[in-house]
């Protein structure tokens, strides 16, 4: 029996405005029938380009200069070299979707909003198998059942916007598998999903693989995912294979410095106290004298006035009814409760982690703290060097002055920097707005900020588009630090970054906290990341904080079922501690009504926070019995 797919010495280059970029330089690997191969690498390593080449969907500037992609499907009469086929030809189109399918990272944009799920999923089978519409409908509902739609027949006539992210990704998978391909390419299939949903999708792919007997080429940057699904692993760096082999060999005996470095850069639970991640490219943070000099000192005893930030009873409801021209008088009932009675405190010098899945209200909460949104009820008090400030009551000049105390680091390093301004203009903008220093002083300060985040001062004349995601994120950090804030709100600052870059940024944030005496509110969906950086962790679900505990206590003794689900769903880069996929349930973990007693939240039960001692609080109606067992 031969290999299903054999990629040999593949070279691909992009001819673009910046010149010729050699994205793939001599890649070779194989996929056995029914096997699972993981293609691992940082962004820009060329792994997605390989997938596009196999699908024959390379973008226009890309050219295959050498090598072959041999595809030997037993259903096809003979072995086909995909590089020799015209991507537009009928033969390639028959392979694409019929024999090889792909699922993409973004389930939101991969489905057309204008067609029903049934039509979109069934389209491929009508095209490739030539079945009638009625037959296609039957096959589609069968497929939707297979990918775990609770009511497949009803789902046929729903539109994508009616589905949750997890169900959308399932619909995508159904679409890819409806023709029973012999090879499924999964291009970062779970990167955009929450950890609990990620675990379900991984399980689904593995189950379907057994059922349909197809091979999977998994493209990912997450070594945790690799350890959980792959049989063979190919590690790519700058378009070349660094290391490849059986998955167990790779994890048991990583030999190449790149792979070793990648493994060291992944934050994992149970790290030794004080243990640092080792990023592949360490950044040297230097300087800080001028910033130090411009800082207002904290008077002794100022901390007695209260915590740095104290939040009580914040509630925010978003109205979903329209406010158009003609329906102004319609009564506005319902709406979405984004943040529900949230209270917490942040002490000076602390790093508080806020964990929750997408849609749990953590970004809404951070926007309220930044005064970008107004809550329905609640107060936010800020201790400004002994003087308590009511943040929500600030207006005009007071508000502008308050902006200097509190700064924000964005999730998306691409959208948060104005592409039309040079780095110097970007970093110096807050200084200009607040009229700090003269031009010369500002120039010096910006230079110091650049070296503080480990960027070359020569980069100041460049535009943001010339930087990688990690470098841009550092520019964002430099900008946030320019005003010398006391409190930094970091909204998922590393979730858009590669593991190797993530370690770099986390270390930088840690160092800056030490050096400048900062306080962080660190928001993330990744528990392992929060575990690495935070002192105290708050777990949020559906607008409510369900558990608060010091870092060590939370991981030693998680009480709330939601926290437990989150903890168990994080894939570990270790083949010996694979996720227990069966235990993760079917998406019930984030539904407050299905939590067991005494945690249930529904029409009858409105649990409050119960103090378990040592700063460990949990939302429950009664002191949970589990606690006694655990402690």
């Amino acid at each position: 029996m031969t290999d299903l797919l054999n990629v040999r010495d593949l070279h691909i280059e992009f001819r673009v405005a910046e010149g010729v970029i050699r994205a793939v330089r001599g890649i070779s690997f194989r996929v056995k029938p029914g096997g699972t191969v993981a293609l691992v690498g940082e962004s820009g390593s060329g792994k997605s380009v390989v997938a596009q080449a196999i699908m024959g969907i390379l973008p226009r500037p890309a050219h295959i200069t050498r090598g072959e992609i041999l595809f030997a499907d037993p259903r096809l009469p003979k072995t086909i070299d995909i590089t020799k086929l015209n991507p537009e030809s009928g033969k390639m189109r028959a392979i694409r979707g019929g024999n090889i399918s792909i699922i993409f990272q973004e389930p939101m944009t991969s489905l057309s909003p204008l067609h029903t799920v049934g039509d979109q999923v069934g389209e491929a089978v009508i095209l490739h198998r030539g079945v009638s519409k009625a037959e296609a409908r039957g096959l589609t509902s069968e497929m939707l059942r297979l990918v775990g739609f609770p009511e497949p027949v009803r789902a046929l006539d729903t539109y994508p916007f009616e589905l949750s992210g997890g169900l959308r990704q399932r619909a995508m998978i159904a679409m890819a598998l409806i023709c029973r391909p012999s090879l499924l390419i999964a291009d970062e299939p779970t990167t955009a999903l929450d950890v609990t949903i990620q675990a379900q999708i991984l399980k689904l792919i593995r189950d379907l693989q057994g059922e349909l007997g197809m091979a999977v080429l998994m493209i990912t940057h997450d070594l945790g995912v690799v350890a959980n699904v792959a049989e063979e692993v190919v590690v790519m760096y700058r378009g070349e294979v660094m290391e490849s082999g059986e998955m167990r060999d790779i994890f048991a005996d990583p030999r190449h410095p790149y792979l070793k470095a990648l493994l060291r850069a992944v934050p994992r639970f149970h790290m030794e106290p004080g243990e640092r991640l080792v990023p592949i490219r360490e950044i040297k943070s230097a300087g800080g004298k001028m910033l130090e000099a411009t800082k207002e000192p904290w008077p002794a005893g100022a901390d007695a006035a209260g915590p740095l930030l104290s939040v009580t009873g914040i509630t925010k409801r978003f109205d979903t009814s329209g406010t158009g021209w003609f329906n102004r008088n319609r009564s506005s009932g319902g709406g979405v409760l984004a943040v529900d009675d949230v209270s917490f405190e942040i002490k000076r010098g602390e790093c508080v982690g806020l964990v929750g899945e997408s849609g749990c209200g953590k970004t809404t909460l951070s926007k309220i703290l930044m005064r970008a949104l107004r809550p329905d009820t609640g107060t936010v008090l800020y201790n400004d060097r002994g003087k308590i400030v009511d943040v929500l009551g600030l207006e005009n000049d007071d508000l502008v002055a308050f902006r200097r105390k509190l700064q924000f680091i964005f999730q998306d390093p691409f959208g948060s920097l104005n592409p039309r301004m040079t780095v110097f203009d970007i970093v110096s903008e807050p200084l200009v707005i607040h009229g700090i220093g003269d031009e010369e002083h500002r120039r010096q300060l910006v230079k110091e900020l650049m070296s503080l985040v480990g960027l070359d001062v020569r980069y100041l004349k460049r535009y943001p588009h010339s930087f990688s995601g990690g470098q841009r994120q550092r520019i964002g950090i430099a900008r946030a630090l320019a005003l010398r804030p006391d409190l930094l709100i970091c909204d998922e600052p590393v979730s858009a970054l590669d593991v190797s870059i993530q370690a770099q940024i986390l270390n930088l944030l840690k160092d800056l906290k030490e050096k400048l005496g900062l306080t962080y509110l660190f928001i993330s969906h990744n528990l392992a990341v929060v575990d690495y950086i935070a002192d105290r962790i708050m777990v949020m679900c559906k607008g409510r904080i369900v558990e608060v505990a010091p870092r060590a206590a939370l991981f030693r003794n998680p009480v709330h079922p939601y926290t437990r689900a989150l903890l168990s769903a994080v894939p570990d880069p270790d083949p010996d501690s694979r996720l227990d996929l069966a235990l993760l349930g079917e998406g019930r973990a984030s539904d407050p009504r299905s939590w067991p007693e005494p945690f249930t939240i529904d029409g009858d039960n409105h649990p409050g926070m119960i103090d378990l001692g040592d700063g460990h609080l949990v939302r429950a109606t009664a002191r949970p019995a589990l606690l006694e067992m655990a402690s």
């Binding site: 029996m1 031969t2 290999d3 405005a17 910046e18 010149g19 194989r30 056995k32 029938p33 940082e42 041999l70 030997a72 072995t79 063979e232 760096y237 700058r238 070349e240 294979v241 660094m242 290391e243 490849s244 082999g245 059986e246 060999d249 005996d253 030999r255 190449h256 410095p257 790149y258 470095a261 592949i280 490219r281 021209w325 930044m370 970008a372 502008v400 002055a401 902006r403 200097r404 924000f408 964005f410 998306d412 959208g415 948060s416 920097l417 104005n418 592409p419 039309r420 301004m421 903008e429 807050p430 707005i433 607040h434 004349k461 460049r462 535009y463 588009h465 010339s466 990688s468 900008r479």
Partner: protein, 390 residues
Amino acid sequence: MSADPIDTRRLDHYVSTAPFDPYSVEQMSPEQERYFMASQWRMMWWKLKRHRLAVISAGVLGFMYLTILVSEFLSPYALDSRHIHHIYAPPQGIHLFSDEGFVGPFVYGYDYELNMDTLQRVYTVDKTDIQPIRFFCRGDDYDFWGLFPANLHLACPSEGGTLFLLGTDRLGRDMLSRILHGTRISLTVGLIGITISFILGIVVGGIAGYYGGWIDNVIQRFIEVLRSFPELPLWMALSAALPVTWSPILIYFGITLILGLLDWTGLARAVRSKLLALREEDFCTAAQLMGASPRRIIGRHLLPSFMSHLIASATLSIPGMILGETALSFLGLGLRPPITSWGVLLNEAQNINVVALYPWLMLPVVPVILVVLAFNFLGDGLRDAADPYR
């Protein structure tokens, strides 16, 4: 294909032995370096350069705008030189060789005769009358830019001869000279009009987009009302309202004002929608969180971000203005002689008999088509290049 059963064979543990430098991804080639130092406008230019049709169009337009600086010098005759012996003379072709051999560029003279049966003017080419064209010569007097008296021309007829490359009209005036003079007016009508509509569009659209709420509603409804008027009758009504006593130059500004006042709605909408979209961008939120004032956010972040789009859509609406002026003048409601535009020239070609007998009177249509197409192609290229970060 090897015959051995690969399926059962374990995959070897391969490790690349090539030297490994983790920092190599951060190094960049000189071309990348150049690209990364480039501002938005430089990148737009690079992108536009690859759009061949747009570059050619820009060249054509640039050339035409250059000619309006020296229209008087380029045209063989002055704007109003009349040749009563050459009324409705057909175009004269340029020749290099006569029957005797090479003589350089020349035209044959005309023999004129009035056919008394049909009362038609008949011009016959007189092959013996060779009239060499003179270059950089003294010809009709004119006031350069209406200021300096001069009489230098690029080309003039030979002494006592004629040079009607595109024929003459009913008063025996040279069409080529008149088209060249008309270029000046026709091309600037668009520019002045677009400036007015640009300013109006940015201000009104900016107000609607930034303040939103009822202000936005009122402005949007007003724009809808304005756009629901049929264009031509509205232009006609407004230009008919211009006082007859105004001097032609005042009429010219009046017409551009009318064109500008009616054209801004599209731009205002573009500004508003761009503003609404950009306001949601993270970098605008970032500026807000820094404490930037609305004026600074609009001026430093929003305007530069969509200026390129605005320029593209402005370029695309210039042809509409040129066509508007042409249409008005063609109907006799726009510019009035002695101001000469392509539309004014086409006014002469209103009568179908005239067109049938003297088709060269239709020639001012050619530059109109050329300019409109060129602006459309250029605007198309600009629009594609407008967002170099996509």
